[in-house]
């Protein structure tokens, strides 16, 4: 037998904090941090008593509240220059709450417009006349959904394992050619994606060597230890 208990559902820790600030009628610019922290923890323990999972972000906020509370009890730390630091430890949280509140209000405004717009009914049927030519209309979502379909169907065939397949020299060659096709000169560093792992770096380098061998690109360095610049080979 499962008992259902109606609890106010909060979208997240900020939502819960705004609720506590409202019901306690306290000033958001001067939050009584000890009181609010206590009520915040009461809500979390209520969730636990009901065996409901407490999402990670609620716990992060709990830690933040405790930290702010402890900071409020301490005398202001002197800064590196010896000047006392005046900043209220609550400020970052207050800023977050205010910003979140603004977006919550704009979400409400959007909901109002949604209601209003739902009074208009349009025809949803596509044009019966088949279209050919014209401009293209494809969203990235369409493309990705299609690819996901491919991946899902290919899942049983290990030979088509896209997920673990590393980037290839061929791909990197194409990418480099794309770059030099539109930019007169591309810096060597920019060929390597910032988050690239070692494999991608090696493969990219091999791709560059292959392009040089083919004579598809040129490499220049104006001064010793200067930037290495890749450019398209003059035809």
């Amino acid at each position: 037998m499962v008992y259902q208990v109606k609890l106010p559902a909060f979208e997240g820790p900020l939502d819960l904090l705004l609720h506590l600030i409202r019901v306690n009628e306290v000033d958001i610019y001067n939050i009584p941090i000890a009181q609010i922290t206590e009520e915040y923890f009461q809500y979390l323990s209520l969730l636990q008593e009901l065996d409901l999972e407490v999402a990670g972000e609620f716990l992060v906020m709990a830690a933040t509240l405790v930290y702010i509370k402890s900071r409020m009890l301490l005398p202001a730390e002197p800064s590196a220059t010896g000047e006392p630091v005046e900043e209220d430890p609550r400020t970052p949280l207050v800023d977050m709450l205010l910003e979140y509140q603004r977006f919550r209000a704009s979400a409400e405004a959007l909901a109002g417009r949604e209601d209003q717009q739902r009074q208009f009914f349009f025809r949803s049927t596509p044009l019966e006349v088949p279209a050919d030519g014209g401009t293209l209309e494809v969203s990235l979502f369409d493309l990705l959904a299609a690819f996901q379909g491919v991946l899902a169907r290919a899942a049983d065939q290990p030979v088509l394992d896209f997920v673990t397949r590393p980037v290839t020299t061929g791909e990197r060659m194409v990418a480099i050619l794309d770059r030099v096709a539109t930019q007169a000169a591309v810096s060597f560093e920019s060929l390597f994606p910032p988050a690239a792992d070692r494999w991608v770096v090696v493969v990219t380098f091999l791709a560059l060597l292959e392009l040089l061998r083919q004579g598809s690109v040129r490499v220049q360095q104006q001064v010793d230890f200067g930037d290495i610049v890749i450019a398209r080979a003059v035809a």
Partner: protein
């Protein structure tokens, strides 16, 4: 001739599943001037109104589309059983963040909402209200999101500048005393 111009305009608006811009109408109608098209659109709307028609012409997302008269919606709700559901509050919050702050990354949205937004992003993508705009030039190159034309249509905006300004939003929020003021470091009575 003008009579038939109106009929053609009417047929085009009826058949188009999306709002038609003056430019599109001009392309299709060929020799009809843009000003004349605007005049005819107004004439059509006025004729509908005068005749007590159940239809109307609305201006939306930079174009015009034919719609049912809003006051008749109770009747239409009875007919339409498969309308898309209203957006949830988390979806609306995330959408408003994207609309105001675009281009914006997922991490930035999560920083503002204080919760993960993965599920909501899927829904918004699927409903074609948001799209990927590219990648941010920073470590990890996260995807950047923005709003779509469908977003404008869905909420009845002409363009993105019609979104209420931050000041207008501010006026809607209950806790608005001295929003710009800096927080004073008062003796804590916590």
């Amino acid at each position: 001739m003008s009579q038939d111009d109106l009929a053609i305009l009417e047929a085009l608006l009826f058949a188009s599943p999306d709002p038609l811009s003056i430019e599109q109408l001009h392309t299709v109608l060929g020799d009809v001037e843009r000003d004349r098209i605007v005049e005819n659109l107004n004439l059509l709307r006025e004729t509908y109104e005068k005749n007590g028609s159940g239809l109307t012409i609305v201006q939306i997302a930079g174009g015009f589309r034919m719609s049912t008269r809003p006051d008749l919606h109770p009747w239409l709700s009875r007919l339409a059983s498969t309308r898309p559901t209203r957006l949830s509050r988390p979806a609306l919050e995330t959408l408003s963040i994207i609309a105001y702050r675009q281009p914006i990354t997922k991490a930035e949205m999560e920083a503002i909402r204080g919760v993960l937004v993965d599920g909501v992003l899927k829904t918004l993508m699927e409903r074609d209200l948001i799209r990927v705009l590219g990648r941010k030039r920073e470590v990890g190159r996260p995807l950047l999101y923005g709003s779509t034309r469908k977003f404008l249509e869905y909420f009845g905006f002409q363009d993105i500048t019609e979104l209420p300004s931050p000041q207008e939003i501010e006026a809607l929020t209950p806790l608005r005393q001295d929003a710009g003021e800096t927080v004073k470091s008062e003796g804590e009575n916590s």
